[in-house]
Amino acid sequence: MGYKKKKSTRFLMITVSTLFVGLMLFLPLVMVIINSLKKGFEFYLQAVSTKTVISALKVTLLATVITVIVNTVFGIFASILLTRFSFKGKQLLQTLIDIPFSVSPVIAGLAFIMMFGRMGWAAPFVDAVNNAFGWDIKIVFAVPGVVLATIFVTFPFVSREVIPVLNAAGSDEEDAAALMGAGMFTIFRRITFPHMKWALLYGMVLCTARALGEFGAVNALSKTRGETFTLPLEIDALYLSGSADSITAAFAVSSILVLFTVVLLVIRCVLENRSKKAQEEQKRR
């Protein structure tokens, strides 16, 4: 109750927050939409359907889908491991998983170049695999590199959301089910999964949002416009080319990402409510 005493304090705080959010967050997004339509709707449609934009959209969606799948599976494993098992180095593993939060994405991208690039220590393995199967998979400056970089950057999102929920739920129900003869898969499907469901979805949405917008790490690993560029890179390229038309086109392409963001924001809002409710229910018990 401490802060609620004075009406004027409340008014001041609401005004400041609203103004700040409006000026710093909402207005810029609106400007993107306005700018994207500056040269008419026809121009807009043209700008978002060029070859390079379509290619970038495809790469972005591909990278995002693979990233979300990989990180969801990994996130589930990691959360169960970190909440249901005790082992040496658990604390260390927990810290390692959070690395992407504290490392600049550009550094992550460079690290992959160091690893898989021509001089990288993992390059011989990639060559060996390629030779053995007759493939010609390139990682650096190719789509696989983009995917890897995106996975790296969005690595902790799912487990971050799921771990607290599993901790709160405790393992009693799983023990009870095991005692009655349920196998691991049954326990996961009927008990653990329903507990983590909303948090998991929420983590996936966060992961998706971040994967769609990733720039730094991908920028280090992707150099071919029209082939390995993602939407953010394409926007950057359009904007930097400098003509009035291409700048408007950059805004048009940006508006696609803004649209994604709005949709994800709505889903996120709904999910956050659901997972909060589920957690409160658990606390009440």
């Binding site: 009870a176 005692l179 009655m180 003869g181």
Partner: protein
Amino acid sequence: MYLEMRNINKSFGSFRASEDVNFSVEKGELAALLGPSGSGKTTILRMIAGLERADSGDILIDGKRVNDIPASMRGIGFVFQNYALFRYMTVYDNIAFGLTVKKAPADAVKNRVHELLRLTELEGLEKRFPNELSGGQRQRVAFARALAPEPGLLLLDEPFAALDAKVRKDLRQWLRDMIHRVGITSIFVTHDQDEAVEVADSIIVTNKGRVEQVGRAYKIYKEPETAFVSQFIGEPVIVEDFGKLNGYEKGDFDRAIIRPEFVEAFKSDNAHFKDIITYSQKGVIKDIVFKGSALELRLNVNGVEVVTHRSLERRPVEVGEEMNVIIYRLFAVKDNTTELMQNSYLLKDDPTGEKLEKYLYSDGGYFAG
């Protein structure tokens, strides 16, 4: 013997959770594992269930050694302390779970679940989720769920701990009746001696990983065999200098345990006690606590503090009043042994208990009518 524990040992690192644990439970019996927290009672229960492994010794269920049989194959029903009901399943699915994971046919599952819903008076609640139930209903669901696969042995870990005081009292009786009706051999863990005495047929008292005493509830209450049991059961008051009390010599003993019911405090003009008033000594009331059904008096007797209960029907007393006090008996303790000691004055003058009989139970006696 349905369950037998033979020389069970268990350590967690350097902590010895069980030391040479030996006891057995007869078929159909309801036994309580009673001890303070950290006494190893829950570890014993978890070893029987197969949730922990014994380091050495044998666990026999129905004559068969089960140490190496996994928990789910031991034929055990387990009620967890907080019930561990499946939050995202209905009451029906909770009870059916143990049967469906064992791939029982659907109509057999249905029949069994409805039978248990009837037994536990949960009919009509089968579509509810656990968070829509009261504490008592949850306990009944946990009980029904544990019984559904028809286990041979039912284990309950602090089954009343999660309930509030009023519900707890009701459910004690309910659980006792239900277990006897089903006829299943059961063991429950508790740290509450009232609960153990009231619910269990027999009690296993544990302390520091050891079994202190095994026996009928009445016997454990009246005849504690170790110093620990005499101090844990009842309402013990520990008295160091009990040689200062009339009728007792301290000798080699370390101290004494005097329960309130061992102490008589009466006014000097009380006719019932006139025969034995010479054996009494003066005690001053230091404090009076109203306990609802009785008063609790704290008295200073020759520098020793003793406690007794006083019926509300007797004449009122006040703090500072001088009473005549007689200690009928006490438990004298040396190391971990205990011995029942009778008041030697009473014993000498009244070896057959005739006078005691007279002043307490005769027509004009204290408990007459």
